[in-house]
């Protein structure tokens, strides 16, 4: 099977249309199951009480705020090097979802910080770098929207996305590099997780649900983008009728 075939809008558009309902259904099931475990099954935390349950939305949102930025920058690189228009459309379509998860991570973090630290916000390295991530997403979307010529807006915003990716490892390692009020990570690749198995399970299922949600939403947005950009092409009009 030639996967590169799907890098053209003509072949991508119907394929994405077929995949989206399945991905969205699995995403919904996983999120409901994750909520069930996180809110109904998992016990309370011996240190933080039930405030810890915010972890089930906060951590998956924070993970995907960073992960989606890296994927967006990856598509920006593909767009600039291969001059592939679908890559630029992917990058552009990832930004709103990434920005949404960044906003959610910041807000739910504030609602977790207040009962555990006594403050909605502190200017520590983790929170500040995550706020910069939100500004990078907003900057990317503003630049994309500010330039009318699609080729120019794609290329200049791609450069912004690529330069900004340096912020992601700063967010990720901020809790190690600096003395932050924000707690260190409970999960990493080298040691076993420092949380109960059922809590970990709920969080990972929510994360998987958020991942599939992101894929479904982003693919849908790419389809809308294709409709906008290829509006006058014969293939799209033939497809619509």
């Amino acid at each position: 099977m030639n996967l590169l075939k799907y890098s053209s809008p003509q072949t991508f558009y119907p394929l994405a249309g077929k995949l989206i309902p399945w991905i969205a259904t699995v995403a919904a099931i996983l999120i409901v199951y994750g909520l069930y475990i996180g809110l109904l099954v998992a016990p309370t935390d011996f240190q933080q009480g039930d405030a810890y349950r915010i972890i089930y939305v906060h951590v998956p949102a924070a993970w995907f705020s960073m992960f989606l930025y890296v994927v967006m920058a990856g598509y920006a690189i593909l767009g600039l090097t291969l001059n592939a228009k679908l890559s630029y459309m992917m990058a552009k379509s990832i930004a709103p979802t990434g920005a949404m998860f960044t906003f959610v991570a910041l807000i739910t973090g504030a609602f977790w910080g207040k009962p555990t630290w006594g403050a909605w916000w502190v200017w520590d390295a983790r929170l500040t770098s995550e706020l910069i991530l939100l500004f990078l997403y907003i900057g990317y979307m503003s630049l994309q929207a500010a330039i009318d010529d699609t080729r120019r807006s794609d290329r200049s915003s791609a450069i912004l996305a690529i330069v900004g990716v340096i912020n992601v490892p700063i967010i990720y390692f901020s809790v190690k590099w600096w003395n932050t009020l924000h707690q260190g990570s409970s999960i990493n690749l080298t040691t076993s997780p420092s949380m109960a198995a059922i809590m970990l399970k709920g969080m990972l299922i929510m994360a998987l649900g958020f991942w599939l949600y992101s894929i479904a939403v982003i693919l849908t947005r790419v389809r809308r983008e294709i409709e906008d950009r290829e509006r006058n092409t014969a293939w799209l009009n033939a497809f619509k009728e």
Partner: protein
């Protein structure tokens, strides 16, 4: 099931406000994103009709 009754569940050991607002904002944001995407689809379909 961890909770003894519905009132315990809603109160979340005194952290109910923080927990429920967090979950509420998260899913409200996702719902708004889905709504905006749907609005964009409808507007694209209308443009198609006008062409």
């Amino acid at each position: 099931m961890y909770w003894k009754n519905i009132s315990d569940f809603l109160q979340m050991g005194g952290y109910g406000l923080y927990v429920w607002v967090s979950f509420g904002i998260t899913f409200a944001c996702m719902a708004i994103e889905l709504f905006l995407l749907r609005a964009r689809r409808l507007s694209n379909e209308n443009i198609k009709d006008l062409l």
